[in-house]
């Protein structure tokens, strides 16, 4: 059961001259939720974005080391980034539905993969919205703009949009940081359900959230991976002093 999905080895990342990640070695298990915590600017979001090569979009980024997903180093020359990103869904901090209808938002991914058959699309849209627990709220007005939904609904729409491409991995960059407690609870519940079928890596600022939703937790500080263990150990008996200080709220 406890197979490893993502292995990073000696991963360094530089923005120009500035090194943002130092020698990150992390094994992320399949079908678990792994939380990345740490104070702002510690490199956790940067690390998350190395996993689907979103950092490629920024000028002047240099990455060394390897990120192996399903046995393949995604930074190898022959790797097709577009194919890679289809396998890895990403949810952003600020929900970012396209200014299109709910239906067209979810159907965007399948459509760029040349699925145009109406029945197939209908089915994918329905399934994805059901998986993201949004179907019951929107099934009667799929033609409504995605932007007309509430913040929490928008974020679940983004999750549905990511699921429609049938990824194995979901990367979430503080998915609930802009939401109210009720919407946050819904997202957390959803994460709990989704991990049955997906490997989830979530960046969060909220320690309680990490404790609630994750199986494993990695603590980042100043671009270094300080400690990585089962979540309950990180929060009860951390090995490192810095981790203990952070999770008990003494700094950060």
């Amino acid at each position: 059961m406890n197979t490893t999905k993502i292995i990073t080895k000696d991963l360094d990342l530089y923005y120009g001259e500035k090194q943002a990640l130092h020698n990150i070695n992390l094994d992320i298990p399949s079908y678990k939720v792994t939380a990345l915590i740490g104070p702002s600017g510690c490199g956790k979001s940067t690390f998350l974005r190395t996993l689907n090569r979103m950092n490629d979009l920024i000028d002047n980024v240099k990455i060394t080391g390897t990120v192996v997903i399903d046995g393949i180093n995604i930074y190898d020359k022959g790797v097709d980034v577009v194919e890679l990103r289809k396998k890895i869904g990403m949810i952003f901090q600020k929900s970012n539905p396209f200014p299109k209808s709910i239906y067209d938002n979810v159907a965007y991914g399948p459509r760029i993969n040349d699925i145009h058959d109406k029945k197939t699309l209908d089915q994918i849209v329905e399934e994805s919205l059901k998986k993201s627990a949004l179907w019951d709220e929107v099934k009667d007005d799929l033609k409504k703009s995605g932007l007309s939904l509430s913040g929490g609904q928008q974020q679940r729409l983004c999750i549905a949009r990511a699921l429609a491409v049938q990824p194995d991995i979901l990367l979430m960059d503080e998915p609930a940081s802009a939401l109210d407690p009720i919407a946050t609870a819904k997202i957390e519940e959803l994460i709990y359900e989704l991990k049955e079928n997906y490997t989830i890596v979530i960046v969060t600022h909220n320690m309680q959230q990490a404790a609630r939703v994750s199986d494993y937790t990695a603590f980042f500080y100043l671009g270094q991976l300080i400690e990585y263990d089962e979540t309950k150990r990180i929060f009860t008996t951390p090995k490192e002093k810095q981790t203990e200080d952070y999770v008990t709220g003494r700094f950060g």
Binding site: D59, R85, P99
Partner: protein, 279 residues
């Protein structure tokens, strides 16, 4: 102050020309050495000119803007060179464009075409015509198009691009399906601004195809054409009887002003809407 000047300006033109304005004025050609008749060929020529100009300039400008905003590495020397070229182009006086049009389009390309088509025997393309004038005008308005389209592309939130790319869309799919549909009002604004500029400029077409007097409207790309601004210039400086054309001049100026105002005004409204949507 500025508003006052503008009101006086418009009133002068309107008072001088308003009793010449009529449906007939707009739909008939000039007569009796331009002292009577209308300005229809000039209106039609202006419209054809800006249509051809947009057809040539807007796609090139849009593609350049897409390249600059979506693909180019901001710090590369090549990008800086393009930007420098665009800015320089924007600062070049219109008359220089006109001379360039003569040198490049008429002499070089037109001459070359005549040479190829008829061994240089017949002069068809090596003279001013509506095609060369439109292309010259397209060059003049290119910076306007590039700058406003680029602004429109930049107003599309980067989050949309990220979302699309993270879903496994290629860059091209992202530009085509996300960026362009969200920027179309800006592209339209750029086009209209360019058209407004093109409709009002005279210098670039002075040598490249505008005709002194031509009662027919152009029927082929190698025809010359009349143009509102040029017509105005002709009437006020070259006409045998300048005094007699005064009223017509005012009326023509009014038509030209209304045309460019309308275009600019619609561009402003579009831009305003675009801004409102982004915020």
């Amino acid at each position: 102050m500025i508003i006052g000047v503008m009101i006086v300006f418009i009133l002068t033109i309107l008072l001088g020309g308003w009793h010449y304005l009529s449906w007939e004025f707009l739909t008939s050609p000039p007569e009796q050495g331009m002292t009577a008749g209308g300005i229809f060929p000039a209106i039609a020529g202006t419209v054809f000119l800006v249509l051809l100009m947009s057809l040539a300039g807007v796609p090139v400008g849009t593609i350049t803007a897409i390249y600059l905003s979506e693909y180019a590495n901001r710090n590369s020397i090549f990008t800086k060179m393009i930007r420098f070229a665009v800015n320089t182009l924007a600062g070049v006086p219109a008359i220089v464009f006109g001379l360039f049009g003569v040198g490049f389009f008429i002499q070089f390309i037109g001459g070359g075409m005549d040479h190829l088509l008829s061994g240089g025997g017949q002069m068809v393309w090596r003279q001013g015509n509506i095609l060369w004038a439109s292309l010259t005008m397209a060059l003049l308005t290119l910076p306007v198009v590039i700058v406003s389209v680029e602004e429109a592309l930049r107003s599309v939130p980067p989050e949309y691009r990220e979302a699309s790319l993270a879903l496994g869309a290629t860059k091209f799919q992202t530009v085509l399906k996300i960026v362009l549909p969200n920027a179309y009002t800006g592209i339209l604004t750029g086009t209209i601004l360019a058209v407004g500029r093109g409709a009002g400029e005279v210098a670039p077409i002075l040598f490249t195809g505008a005709a002194y007097y031509l009662p027919q409207i152009p029927s082929s790309l190698s025809d010359q054409f009349m143009h509102l601004g040029y017509h105005l210039y002709i009437m006020s400086t070259q006409s045998p009887d300048v005094e007699a054309t005064l009223g017509i001049q005012y009326a023509t100026a009014f038509v030209l002003l209304v045309l460019t105002f309308l275009l600019n005004f619609s561009a402003i409204i579009l831009r305003y809407r675009l801004r409102a949507r982004v915020q």
